[in-house]
């Protein structure tokens, strides 16, 4: 048998040195890529912090934005507007997303319809946010004749829905069937059983999903350009008029303004948004982690 004939092939070994060298090189590249990615993040965050902190002050956070040249300009109206728009998005988007997720997990298992819905959800999740903005622009802004905060909320809600929907489904699926069956066996109606499971077992998972979705949309800019737009005033006309918000403020101040003061204010707003988004993000992770340790 040739299989055993060691001598004939031992002379034709591949060089171990080259194989090991390739391994070393890849290892080095791995470390390098990671260092570059983390350093890139550090660099960005450093710039945001360093340039943002210098403009932060009490009046910066409590005064409204003002046209260039007028003293005591702040970003408070944009902060409030962002809160309004994001809250509105959550109110519009979360209920249908929860219901849809419940449907997929509880009623639609294995059906063709569920397959279609899941596919549509995935497509919607991968939908560029600028297209969503354009869509809401055509759906609301054009027919109603003007930009409004609520149109911004609708756009952000559409971005939130697929995220919340699929986390809801996932979380409910992680709940063992025995729990469902025992609730039903106790004589609970289907509705009560599902809601009880939602509130108890899947709660932290859902909260995580919702917070992550909120974090994700609260820094979104492109859809707001088409919907909420921008205003120097306080956000009083949420339903009827353009509403100030942080992301569009950053865009306006850094691309449409030649003034260093407004660039600086843009960095201040950037710092505010980044802190907000990262806090939401870290918060949701902590909630999820704690729950997992308890279980």
């Amino acid at each position: 048998m040739t299989m055993m004939n060691n001598n004939s092939i031992s002379a034709r070994r591949r060089g171990l040195f080259r194989r090991r060298l390739a391994d070393r090189i890849v290892r080095l590249l791995s470390t390098a890529a990671l260092v570059i990615a983390i350093a890139g993040m550090g660099w960005i965050l450093w710039n945001v912090c360093a340039r943002g902190i210098s403009v932060l002050s009490w009046s910066f956070l409590t005064e409204s934005t003002k046209p260039w040249g007028i003293p005591d300009s702040g970003i408070a109206n944009a902060i409030l507007g962002t809160l309004e728009i994001t809250l509105g998005a959550a109110l519009i988007g979360i209920p249908p997303a929860l219901l849809g997720g419940i449907y997929l997990a509880e009623f639609g298992r294995g059906t063709r319809l569920a397959g279609i819905i899941r596919f549509a959800t995935n497509v919607l999740m991968g939908m560029p946010s600028v297209v969503v903005g354009l869509f809401v622009y055509a759906l609301m802004v054009v027919p109603l004749g003007g930009f409004s905060g609520v149109a911004g909320s609708l756009a952000l809600a559409i971005l939130m829905i697929p995220v919340v929907l699929s986390t809801t489904e996932e979380m409910l699926r992680m709940v063992p069937d025995t729990l469902r069956e025992s609730a039903l066996a106790l004589g609970c109606s289907r509705t009560r059983a599902t809601l009880a499971i939602l509130c108890r077992s899947a709660r932290s998972g859902l909260l995580t999903g919702i917070l992550l979705a909120v974090a994700r949309v609260s820094g979104e800019t492109a859809p707001l350009l088409f919907t909420a737009l921008w205003s120097d005033g306080w956000p009083r006309d949420y339903f009827t008029g353009p509403t100030a918000n942080l992301p569009v403020l950053i865009t306006e101040y850094s691309t449409n303004s030649p003034f260093a003061e407004q660039h600086a204010a843009g960095w201040g707003a950037a710092l505010t948004v980044t802190v907000m988004v990262l806090l939401l993000n870290i918060g949701s992770r902590i909630i999820f982690k704690e729950k997992h340790h308890v279980r």
């Binding site: 048998m1 040739t2 299989m3 055993m4 060691n6 092939i9 031992s10 034709r12 070994r13 591949r14 171990l16 194989r19 090991r20």
Partner: protein, 254 residues
């Protein structure tokens, strides 16, 4: 058959992460071209012991072995030994079949291409030899291009054995190779092991006493990380000298 010593384990101690000791002063002499069975209750360290021979434990952080394992007189635990070459010389078969996600042919050819520069026809010849060697050739010669994962469990395990022998190793380590396989396929693999003994030194971990008795020439009994008894299989099974061995073999614990 010669009675030459292939592997000589001297004062082997093994530690998992956190300095948790799993093997204590193991001493063992594995004879070439024989089957040595390693038996003992679960958690006794038999797999751990086997996994030091090809230093596969080094994949995991914090695990370390102390002492000496001499293969043909060379201490393979020494940092100067090349593990890639060591693992070509010492093949391993696992509890479950682990075909690579590639065709039947490529599964067997993979180690050849990895270690040698051979022509296509040489590779094809060797793959055929290896598959014949594990009596799989007749079953798969028509579907060499199908995925290795499409074979039955027993066939997959024989495929893995073919893959392990194709790069011309000297020793085969088998870690409960039939634990995930049905009884008929198990018998085929046992027959195969007896044939492979002609060309390779085989060390097999098994929890199946009948299997150890059927196929092994020597048996080592492990208990709590120590080698309690080692000798010819007939001797161990008919006349164990240690009460623990007797208890285990007669099925009183384990």
């Amino acid at each position: 058959m010669s009675d030459e010593i292939k592997i000589s384990v001297r004062n082997l101690n093994f530690f998992y992460a956190g300095n948790h000791q799993a093997l204590f002063d193991n001493n063992l002499e594995i004879r070439a071209n024989h089957v040595t069975a390693v038996i003992g209750p679960s958690g006794c360290g038999k797999s751990t012991h086997l996994r030091t021979y090809n230093r596969i434990f080094e994949l995991y952080r914090g695990q370390r072995a102390e002492g000496e394992i001499l293969v043909d007189g060379e201490n393979i635990l020494s940092p100067h030994v090349d593990v890639l070459e060591l693992r070509r010389r010492i093949g391993m078969i696992f509890q479950k079949p682990t075909p690579f996600p590639m065709s039947v042919f490529d599964n067997v050819a993979y180690p050849l291409r990895l270690h040698f520069k051979l022509s296509k026809s040489e590779i094809a010849d060797r793959v055929e030899d290896a598959l014949r060697g594990v009596s799989l050739w007749d079953e798969v010669s028509g579907k060499l291009k199908t995925s290795g994962l499409a074979l039955s469990g027993g066939q997959q395990q024989r495929l893995c054995i073919a893959r392990a022998v194709t790069a011309a190793p000297e020793v085969l380590l088998m870690d409960e190779p039939t634990s995930a396989i049905d009884p008929v396929a198990t018998l085929k693999i046992e027959d195969l092991i007896l044939q492979l003994r002609e060309k390779f030194t085989i060390v097999i971990v098994t929890h199946n006493m009948q299997q150890a008795a059927r196929i092994s020439d020597y048996t080592a009994f492990f208990y709590q990380g120590r080698i309690v008894e080692y000798g010819r299989t007939e001797a161990i099974f008919t006349n164990p000298s240690n009460p623990k061995t007797e208890e285990y073999i007669t099925g009183r614990f384990g």
